[in-house]
Symmetry: C2
Amino acid sequence: MAEYHGPTPVATVERLSVYLRTLQEAKKEGKEFISSIQIGNRNGFTSAQVRKDLSCFGNFGRKGKGYHIDTLISSLRNILGLGKKWKVALMGLGNLGEALAGHKGFQKSGFDIVAIFDIDTEKIGTKYKDIPVYHPEKLSEIAGKENIEIAIIAVPNSAAKKSIQRVVDANIKGILNFTNVRLPLEKEFVMKNINLASELETISYYLTHPDRICRGV
Amino acid sequence: MAEYHGPTPVATVERLSVYLRTLQEAKKEGKEFISSIQIGNRNGFTSAQVRKDLSCFGNFGRKGKGYHIDTLISSLRNILGLGKKWKVALMGLGNLGEALAGHKGFQKSGFDIVAIFDIDTEKIGTKYKDIPVYHPEKLSEIAGKENIEIAIIAVPNSAAKKSIQRVVDANIKGILNFTNVRLPLEKEFVMKNINLASELETISYYLTHPDRICRGV
């Protein structure tokens, strides 16, 4: 009931995204209502956690019936900022860049990669999966023209600092960073780092300490 | 001081992995000691969080001097199960699979992709980046022979259920899943799901609600 307006922990936002996906699945299965217990069970969270997270953003439940799936999907989409299309720049067209450029899940969620930037002169001026490839020098110009608000950094670690700096200079405030490089950024920039080796380290931790396995990995 | 032996929340393990990387960087910079404040500052966590996380696993700090970097690196590596090499199977050699097969960060952290599985008859029997490619039917046999303990699922969503089932049947207990498919697994299996669109949704959330930006994104 009482909405919370302070900073939102990243872990909370990540769970909202998981809940949204769960609701979309339940809807596909033909369900109209879902309980916090059911949402929790499908993801390894407790129902208390689900209720607590959602109550931070509004009063969605209906006593005895659970959440109305369509309504909650629409609310969560708005909360997550998915009521609009986001234009995305992809920095780097190596193996990872190619995989990301072809990733259908982005478009489904409303994220359109509209421009790719790479220093390879053989790639510049061509298209990959119908997306034009430019020299990174062009980033500010294209970002302004296309209204790009998010950049994905998929360049080698050695090129990361320069690439992130270009993104910041182009005033692109959302950054998804696949490199190891971390830069201190002004408060209005939002940088999310994905470290693929860390993901495996979470697994090796639990395999090494099976007594500490925690549902919801 | 008081070590904790219950289930470890995933978020805690993920932070340990971030701390390890921070320590490795600090070591490269020639530092010998580091404080919880410095570890926190580099990652957007509070020093209290850093101290709390580490105190669950031992008594590492030295009053006034902070943590001895080499000692803490070695301890964290052991805690995360990185004292050994892990053999990894890669399921799917599409764009994402190729990117993962070529990802140098895995090997650096001790994760060796030793076998790739794909249904494409043109790929089966060849090598990709020196790693042999097999038909998925061979998974159990190769996993047993090679002592594979972790599998990465990088197949299309439509093939995911079958692929995860093969991994479970081969008794590979650690699973890093890039698909949308979620399967209920026995307690001893550890499945970590990465949803790339969710990562962007975290960014779109904070861009939509800049007043709620929380350091440590």
